[in-house]
């Protein structure tokens, strides 16, 4: 039941989306709206990968390349 509620919420959430035209994307195209970690956080993310067990799911590296996790 819980799963069904999640799915219904997800579907209704998505179908409510309206296509935003290119000329309406001024705010969406603001550099601070980018859907990824900011460049200046690169080294912060590196030390977090070393000091924490979790990594990945942030659009960047998910392990490998160092003796970390």
């Amino acid at each position: 039941m819980k799963q069904l509620i999640y799915i219904l919420l997800t579907v209704s959430f998505l179908t409510s989306c309206v296509a935003v035209k290119e000329y309406e994307k001024v705010n969406i195209n603001d550099p601070d709206m980018v859907l990824s970690s900011r460049k200046s956080n690169k080294f912060e993310t590196s030390f977090q990968v070393y000091r924490e067990s979790a990594s990945g799911a942030n659009g960047g590296k998910s392990g490998g390349g160092c003796g970390c996790n």
Partner: protein
């Protein structure tokens, strides 16, 4: 877990089929993907300290500093293609890794207090000493990590498809990595929706270094009268000199060290982004990561609760072994950490960004992580950019992290030698962490400031403080510049 996987899958499928795909208005006009060559410089200084060094079995100083620099050059090859070259160098000094060989410490009791202790003790005195609380001056104290990366991306004429490929190489004194990968991104629904899939492979190799007493033991053909052990007294828990012919004297638990020097990582990543309205967009990430090979660190010691303890150094300091006041006695390792040779990780993340008004933006991130070593974690982060003028933006941020312990983790002297796998690395323990950050960014879209042909587009300074419930604390300061090359 299956439910967690079903939901994002349905999410992707639903959005792909629920949205109409009208003709894209950008087809007639083809804008260059990247107008001019851009160069990003980023440097950081990182410093940490704590009392649970993994190299010394879960106790001891974790003091570490790291100075890192990165340069990324993005070159537009034509209207559609961009080549990016990245080079990064990271130089660290580490008290904990220096204690891979703790016995060459210059701080092994030269001061008067220690001499007094020695004189007042009727127990054994070694001239060779060390301590998990003292930074050794050995070769492992410092190292340099280098990373090079080349990536190439191609965008379709309508800019609705993006392909990319990358090559990666990294090297440090005990570790080498070769990686490669590729990705494909689709944009549709008037570029309101984006779906991407990527895959990466890292083929890594250890050049293993071991704790010096274990390494020396095998170099001396398991003979405590030879090599490193010549003239060195081994002390028991009571501080008495142990008989090297006694069969119960210190020996490493295992007679084999690393038998497989490879560590391979294979990952598949899915991401989905959706513009919800003129001020809001959201993205979801799902990674599936398989690792195999030697996943433990050969540097890290383990001490078992069911084996007798033996030391090298000042017998009088043994009762204070776990205290920072111990400056001159070191416990011989029972083994290096042992962990399974495979690990499967599933992180699922989400970003939700909201443009509040011309001054404020809210950037949020959440990630759930689970793996088959028994670790699960939650990460929540919020950043709140504040535009204080046309050129300056402030970036206050907060991040919370929590994780459960790996099935194989136990603190110093709490693992059992009967276990198949064991570690005292507090990075695999149960903890939570808080991180507070603040940054300031200068942006000049007209790039008026320039040095030779480098026109400054933006500069950013950021500081963050990190506190972990295990006692580890760290600070990082980053400075970055973005230039347009004319």
């Amino acid at each position: 877990m299956k439910k967690l996987l079903i939901i994002p899958f349905l999410f992707f499928i639903t959005i792909i089929f629920s949205q109409s795909q009208p003709q894209d208005s950008t087809k007639a006009y083809k804008k260059r993907v990247l107008e001019k060559t851009e160069i990003d410089f980023l440097s950081s200084y990182y410093s940490q300290d704590g009392d649970n060094a993994a190299v010394t079995g879960g106790i001891g100083t974790e003091k570490l500093t790291d100075l890192a620099s990165n340069i990324v050059i993005s070159i537009p090859l034509n209207d559609d293609d961009v080549l990016s070259i990245s080079a990064e160098i990271s130089a660290y000094t580490s008290a904990s890794s220096s204690n891979l060989d703790p016995f060459d410490s210059g701080a092994s009791g030269d001061d008067d207090d220690d001499d007094d202790d020695r004189n007042s003790s009727s127990k054994a005195i070694n001239t060779t000493t060390g301590s998990p609380w003292v930074e050794s001056s050995g070769d492992s104290k410092k190292d340099t990590w280098f990373n090079g990366n080349v990536s190439y991306s191609h965008s379709s004429d309508d800019r609705n498809r993006i392909w990319s490929a990358n090559l990666n190489f990294a090297n440090e004194y005990d570790y080498t990595s070769i990686g490669f990968g590729g990705s494909h991104t689709w944009l549709f629904n008037e570029k309101n929706t984006e779906f991407g899939i990527s895959g990466n492979v890292y083929l890594d190799t250890w050049s293993p270094r071991y704790p010096t007493e274990i390494d020396s033991y095998f170099e001396a053909d398991q003979n405590l009268y030879r090599g490193f052990f010549i003239g060195i007294d081994i002390l028991d828990q009571n501080g008495n000199v142990a008989d090297k012919d006694d069969p119960t004297i210190w020996r490493p638990l295992n007679t084999t060290l690393i038998d497989n020097k490879s560590r391979n990582t294979f990952s598949v990543s899915l991401n989905f982004s959706q513009i919800l309205n003129k001020n809001t967009q959201v993205s979801f990430f799902l990674d599936l990561i398989q690792q195999d090979g030697w996943l433990a660190s050969p540097l890290q010691r383990v001490y078992f609760s069911d084996r007798d303890n033996f030391y090298i150094g000042n017998a009088a300091s043994i009762p204070n072994y776990t205290l920072p006041s111990n400056r001159d006695v070191f416990q011989l390792a029972d083994d290096i950490e042992r962990l399974p040779d495979s690990r499967f990780k599933i992180p699922i993340g989400m970003r939700f960004n909201y443009y509040i008004n011309e001054i404020f933006v809210a950037r949020t991130y959440y990630r759930f992580y689970t793996d088959d070593w028994g670790i699960s974690s939650h990460t929540a982060e919020i950043e709140f950019p504040i535009k204080i003028s046309d050129k300056f933006t402030l970036y206050p941020s907060y991040r919370y992290y929590t994780q459960t312990a790996a099935d194989y983790f136990a603190p110093y002297e709490e693992n059992l030698s009967t276990q198949e796998f064991y570690t005292s690395d507090f990075d695999l323990s149960d903890f939570n962490a808080n991180q507070y950050g603040f940054g300031i960014k200068y942006t000049d879209i007209f790039t008026k400031l320039h040095i030779w042909k480098f026109n400054l587009k933006s500069a950013e300074l950021k500081y963050s403080h990190y506190d972990r419930s295990t006692g580890l604390a760290s600070d990082i300061i980053s400075l970055g510049f973005n230039y347009i090359f004319e």
